[in-house]
């Protein structure tokens, strides 16, 4: 197993951990962390693949991913804080006024 | 003179104009509608004078409507193409007459008159438009255009269960029109216009669809293809129109809609909207898919016979006068199917005749039911007896309508049914499309028809006078009701005594209809 293979598996692990967190955790902040993990998995891929290839596309794209991650975190935390304010909770299950009404 | 466009668009324009008049001028609306009807009548009379019965399509107007290039598959062409021939001209005349009667009959509508008459005018334009349109897309648009006005007319001004009835009506008819739409899309993608020979122009023109050489070789509905797609297309299109007709398994919307609709709308529904089903079969289904017509002929005739018998039996069992009339419509439209299925000149002419005569007679029948309902708000047959002694004029009209409807010689209904039976019995030896037992069974329908009408007369009008309704001030006919019933009664008699009046229009069409069939090279003589 080369370094590249190894790092790809690491990235898969990070991505799946992120997905697992998103899927199982009930806390909005933890879900946000899971999303950050997924983005980092992608970044790791980009950097690793970039090493094998000409140009700097991968690294540059990774920079944009970081930019996007920052923006998401800023907006997301603002939104989550507001939900905390209204519901005193950030557990999506408990935050549920919007539901299907049964006739 | 663009006679047909005037007929179609005067009511639509008047409807838009109506919307601009403030609702408080409640008396203006029926007068405007009546004016439009009168204008249409004048235009129609002028057309009758110019119409030469032997010439096929007349008063044609053709304008480009949609013309699009569709890169890979040529060009799409839809036109504003209207014209009338021996099939549609009598039906247009019927529409003009019935809409006039319907306006008079709705004179006393009490609430939201503005909306009512505006919708009535839109309906008017759409009905005449669908009888005149020879472009399939145009026809489809007019056809769908009728749905919403009908929905609201039944749903707002109807009886106690109006909401259920209007939604059922809408869903059924929309389902039918979806089936028509499927075939329409398949057809126009398979047909090219012969006008520009060297390029592919997909056209909605029904006249082009009727010529098998216009089907693009290798397309899905190509007449020479061996697949069963054309039969499928026939079946879908037929069911689409059979829902409207309505033929028996698809008829269940009709009794509800009729019973709940206000009188004028019942009249329009029975006299005109059902005819669009029959018209569609004669105009679109049979000429475009003659092969399917041959293949399915015994099915079509069978559905017709089942409708005749089932409708008559249900009418016999009905306790509600309006429901009885509604089921009698199912029965009578079954005759139309039987006539069409025979594909003989007599049968087709009879089917058209039956459509016109049923238009007149069913209008009368629903008006009669409406007259009684206006007075007592009760339509149960068992609650009346001996009405003849109190409402002499009314009873006279009832007798005319009932006898005309059950097919007594001397009335319009007789001519149509006789022609249909001629055709149906002849078909056995002539082209073998309709098995002999079917018209034999259908005669049973005539007997049942006589039975339910005579029994109703006996129950309601003869015997000792008694009315078991809460309100019973049984005045005889008013002048307005006379004005509605008299023209219809005269027409029913006139067309019964002088069938040539109508047959002059119908026969040339029926002859070309069956004639082109044989020229298509389809062997109807196995």
């Amino acid at each position: 197993m080369t370094d590249i293979d190894f790092l790809f598996y690491l990235s898969v692990l990070l991505f799946c951990c992120g997905l697992l967190i998103v899927f199982t955790k009930k806390n909005a902040l933890l879900i946000l962390m899971g999303i950050e993990l997924m983005l980092n998995a992608a970044n790791l891929n980009l950097v690793v693949f970039n090493r094998q290839q000409a140009g700097l596309d991968g690294q540059l794209f990774a920079l944009f991913v970081i930019l996007v991650a920052v923006c998401e975190a800023v907006v997301g935390i603002a939104i989550i804080l507001r939900v905390y304010h209204y519901y005193k909770s950030a557990v999506p299950d408990r935050v549920s006024e919007l539901k299907e009404e049964n006739r | 003179m663009p006679y047909l466009s005037l007929l179609i668009f005067i009511p639509v324009a008047a409807a838009l104009a109506t919307l601009l008049i403030p609702a408080r001028y409640t008396r203006a609306f029926p007068w405007i509608t009546l004016g439009v009807n009168m204008l249409q009548l004048i235009i129609f009379i002028a057309m009758t004078l110019h119409f030469s019965s032997g010439e096929g399509l007349q008063f044609a107007e053709q304008h480009a409507w949609i013309s699009l290039s569709l890169n890979t598959w040529g060009e799409l062409q839809a036109e504003y193409l209207v014209a009338v021939d021996g099939l549609s001209f009598p039906l247009v005349g019927l529409s003009v007459l019935i809409m006039l009667i319907a306006t008079i009959s709705s004179w006393n509508v009490s609430r939201s008159r503005k909306g009512y008459f505006a919708l009535l005018l839109i309906l008017n334009g759409a009905i005449i438009g669908s009888f005149c349109a020879l472009d399939f897309l145009l026809f489809y648009v007019f056809f769908e255009f009728m749905l919403l006005p009908m929905y609201f007319l039944i749903g707002i001004w109807g009886g106690p269960k109006r909401e259920y009835a209007s939604i059922k009506f809408f869903l059924y008819t929309l389902l039918g029109s979806i089936l028509i739409l499927i075939v329409m899309i398949g057809l126009y993608l398979s047909v090219q216009s012969p006008e520009r020979a060297n390029e592919v122009v997909h056209t909605f023109n029904v006249l082009h669809m009727q010529h098998l050489e216009n089907f693009i070789p290798g397309s899905w509905l190509d007449a020479t293809s061996t697949g069963t797609w054309r039969l499928w297309a026939f079946a879908l299109l037929f069911v689409g129109f059979a829902i409207k007709l309505p033929a028996v398994p698809f008829h269940t919307w009709l009794p509800d809609a009729h019973v709940e609709a206000p009188t004028a709308i019942s009249v329009i529904l029975a006299a005109l909207l059902l005819k669009i089903g029959g018209y569609g079969i004669l105009r679109f289904v049979y000429p475009v898919f003659p092969d399917g017509a041959v293949y399915f002929s015994d099915w079509v005739a069978g559905i017709g016979v089942v409708s005749i018998i089932y409708g008559a039996l249900n009418a016999l069992a009905s306790k509600d006068l309006k429901r009885l009339i509604a089921y009698s419509s199912v029965s009578h439209m079954g005759f139309v199917l039987l006539g069409i299925a025979s594909a003989t000149t007599e049968g087709v002419a009879g089917a058209i005749y039956q459509m016109v005569s049923h238009g007149i007679i069913s209008a009368m029948l629903f008006l009669i039911a409406g007259v009684l309902y206006d007075r007592t708000h009760d339509r149960l047959i068992e609650n009346y007896s001996g009405l003849a002694s109190h409402m002499k004029h009314y009873t006279a009209f009832v007798l005319i309508a009932f006898f005309a409807s059950l097919g007594l010689p001397g009335f319009a209904g007789f001519i149509g049914e006789v022609l249909i039976f001629f055709g149906a019995f002849q078909s056995h030896s002539y082209n073998n499309l309709v098995p002999l037992w079917m018209p034999v069974v259908a005669t049973l329908g005539l007997l049942l028809g006589a039975a339910y009408y005579l029994w109703t007369i006996q129950r309601m009008f003869f015997g000792t006078f008694a009315v078991r309704a809460s309100y019973a001030e049984l005045n005889d006919l008013t002048a307005r009701e006379y004005a509605m019933l008299l023209p219809l009664a005269v027409a029913a008699l006139l067309f019964g005594i002088l069938p040539q009046l109508l047959l002059d229009f119908i026969n040339p069409f029926a002859e070309t209809f069956t004639g082109t069939w044989f020229s298509l090279g389809i062997n109807t003589n196995p």
Partner: protein, 168 residues
């Protein structure tokens, strides 16, 4: 060899901390684990000749995003007024789905020829990175500027509206 050993250690740290986040029962510890993971990744970036990215990762991600998250944890703790325990749901299904996706990705990786360009060892320094950023990537760079601006305005507004209504 030394480099490779460091790489494996860093990768191990990253993997371990990522897995730890799944199992940890306290939000604050989760944040710490995430920090460890991010720093380990920054190290890997450095070894993979992406120095600028490594620095950005430390400064922006670890220094910015994570601080924000910790701030949010502190604030929500105060508002909620109760412990920061984390509950989980659908654990089993989650594991299954994650494992399935991992399996698909690994399987796909095995039968994929990833592009390898032999002239790859040149031009991974800072200068060409900056140059490319301002030439080939000028458009996304500028859009990114607008994105950042709008997000800050929006987030500030969202947070302030919350404060406003908090006084009601």
């Amino acid at each position: 060899m030394m480099e490779q050993a460091v790489l494996y250690i860093l990768a191990g740290v990253a993997a371990a901390s990522a897995i730890a986040i799944v199992f940890v029962r306290h939000v604050f510890y989760a944040a710490l684990m995430l920090l460890a993971c991010l720093l380990a990744l920054a190290g890997i970036y450095g070894i993979m000749q992406a120095g600028f990215l490594a620095i950005t990762q430390v400064l922006i991600y670890a220094g910015g995003v994570l601080v924000l998250i910790v701030f949010a944890i502190v604030v929500t703790n105060r508002v909620a007024g109760k412990s920061l325990q984390v509950e989980s749901q659908h654990r089993f299904a989650g594991f299954l789905i994650a494992a399935a996706i991992a399996r698909v990705l690994a399987w796909g990786y095995h039968q994929t020829e990833f592009l390898v360009n032999n002239h790859s060892q040149i031009g991974k320094e800072l200068k060409p990175l900056g140059e490319t950023l301002f030439t080939s990537y000028a458009a996304p760079f500028e859009i990114g500027g607008v994105l950042l601006l709008v997000c800050l305005v929006g987030a500030a507004f969202t947070a302030s509206s919350f404060k406003k209504s908090a006084h009601d």
